[in-house]
Amino acid sequence: MSAATVAAPAAPPRPRTHAVADAVTVAWRNVLTVRRNPRLLVFATVQPIVFVLMFRYVFGGAIKVPGVPYVDFLMPGVFVQTVTFGSLQTGIGLADDLQKGLIDRFRSLPMARSAVLVGRTLADLLRNVFVVLLMCAMGFLVGWSVHTNVIAMIAGLGLVLAFAYSLSWIFAIVGLSSPDSETAQAASFPVLAPLVFASSAFVPVNTMPGWLQAFARNQPVSVVVNAVRALTLGGPTSSAVLKAIAWIVAIVAVCAPLAVARYRRVV
């Protein structure tokens, strides 16, 4: 059979884009998936509780921070740390969908190209809202107190969530570039661990060796932790918060287009 000539068809309608509706549909699916999957549910609920308790009672006595009770210094660090490790889930979920052929199905449907990624990151944001509220409740139970006011605290939590959302886009790229979820997880950890631990999350940066301080002071986890600390402990906030917002905007601006491009080309 050689080149077949094809008559002009009764043209199928040009599809409208449904970017928002499609993203909401995918988010709905991902939220259902978390609810149905005990492993994910445990990850989302038990881990934040354990982290708050562990840092409060295991390290809380050993670490002294001048001027403030350690629990009040600690909580912003625990928030940021938990959502940072949690953002791995975005990559793991996408790698899993890819491996199971679901991404192929989505890519063969007349849906918006951005929807799978936006839906996934929105679902992860929702999960983080739940996680952060849970950690707040735990924090208050173990003696966390906010030195400023409710509005500043809410702004701080908002910053934590926005940071988590920006990280989701980084791990979307990792997930779409990994052959399976185990690889996505293994590839992410060596990047995440130094970001979380070589930071101001648990100890003041000035206790670290000099060569590490420059990195630890300016990397995004520290910057966001410092901003949330400023918002909950009091003191000058605007420069710390602006730096944090700059990091968040920069990460989304760079990684979201890269992730969507990766999604289009993925084989």
């Binding site: 599809p15 199905r105 084989v267």
Partner: protein, 327 residues
């Protein structure tokens, strides 16, 4: 609707140094079934991925209902359904939710999504399992659900990539029945398969591909006429006996000898078997084994290319397979 539903014209695709497709052309008339038959790594999946907008061809043109897949992929996605090699369903959703997901993503009105879902569950005999999580499903049920998901938006053109690979014989027969019903309803279908029996049963036309090239095409009857409808295999104790038998049996069918084994392609199995027995008996040639069987893809390949349809690591493996594992 145009007469030609699917057309591929000179498709070329390379993955690094591996040439997965070396310029293949075929077309599928509206309302008919084309079977793309070939071994692993022949390029079947690559061709399907290009036609379903998942992959760009390096050269050549592909159209579905006259719409160029490279120029207007979004329009093509609205008129095709795809079920790939592995059931692409969400295991953490129920069967009903899986279909609703696809309905919403293809922008069916809410009522229609529900009605269509119920109708498909009924048709694919999944109504009793409709509210169970898909991860509890058997392989056959997963495939049926996957196929149902590909049909939610009622696409006039359907692509099935090895729909029955990995299924047990019961699951395979079940799926064949469902596919036959679809085709009776007027759906145009392109189906890839490694099984001659499957292509034979489901396809109007068959295109045989190997190493990214078309090596034969025609109806199942035409291919079989070229090949012989039945295979007789006879094993002997010695090479000499096999050689002697080969010259004795040559008038009955086309004979290949490989050491002590002898293979014949024959048109009429039962009477050829009888003739074979008589001829061997007359010459006192005593076989060790004797088998009458349907030709397989291996026989097609052996007779068309002179090599067996062995598995190869190239092509489809490079194209898609390694990121997904069968379950």
């Amino acid at each position: 609707m145009p007469d030609v539903a699917i057309s591929a014209d000179g498709l070329v695709k390379c993955f690094g140094s591996v040439e997965a497709l070396r310029g293949i052309s075929f077309h599928v008339d509206t309302g008919t079934v084309l079977g793309l038959l070939g071994p692993n790594g022949a390029g079947k999946t690559t061709a399907v991925r290009i036609l379903t907008t998942l992959l760009h061809a390096d050269r050549g043109e592909a159209r579905v209902l006259g719409v160029d897949v490279a120029a207007e992929p979004a329009r093509v996605r609205g008129i095709i359904g795809l079920a790939g090699q592995y059931a692409a369903i969400d295991e953490n959703l129920t069967a009903r939710e899986n279909l609703r997901l696809v309905g919403r993503l293809t922008h069916l009105p809410y009522r229609q999504t529900r009605a269509r879902g119920d109708e498909l569950l009924e048709r694919f005999e999944l109504t009793d399992a409709a509210d169970r999580l898909a991860r509890t499903f058997s392989g056959g049920m997963r495939r049926r659900l996957d196929l149902a998901a590909a049909l939610v938006h009622n696409p006039p053109v359907l692509f099935l990539d090895e729909p029955t690979s990995g299924l047990d014989p019961y699951g395979r027969t079940e799926l064949w029945r469902v596919i036959e019903e679809l085709v009776d309803g007027g759906t145009t279908l392109l189906l890839t398969t490694q099984y001659l029996e499957e292509a034979d049963r489901l396809a109007n036309n068959i295109v045989v591909i190997d190493h990214g090239q078309i090596i034969a095409e025609g109806t199942s009857a035409e291919l079989k006429a070229q090949l012989g409808a039945t295979v007789i295999e006879v094993g002997f104790a010695t090479n000499q006996a096999a050689a002697a038998a080969a010259s004795r049996l040559a008038p009955i069918g086309s004979v290949d000898v490989d050491g002590q084994e002898l293979r014949m392609n024959v048109a009429n199995g039962a009477s050829a078997m009888l003739e074979t027995v008589r001829a061997l008996d007359a010459d006192h040639l005593e076989p060790v084994t004797m088998v009458l069987r349907e030709p397989t893809l291996d026989d097609v390949f052996l007779s068309l290319t002179g090599h067996a349809a062995e598995e190869e690591a190239a092509d489809d493996a490079a194209a898609a397979a390694p990121r997904r594992r069968g379950r």
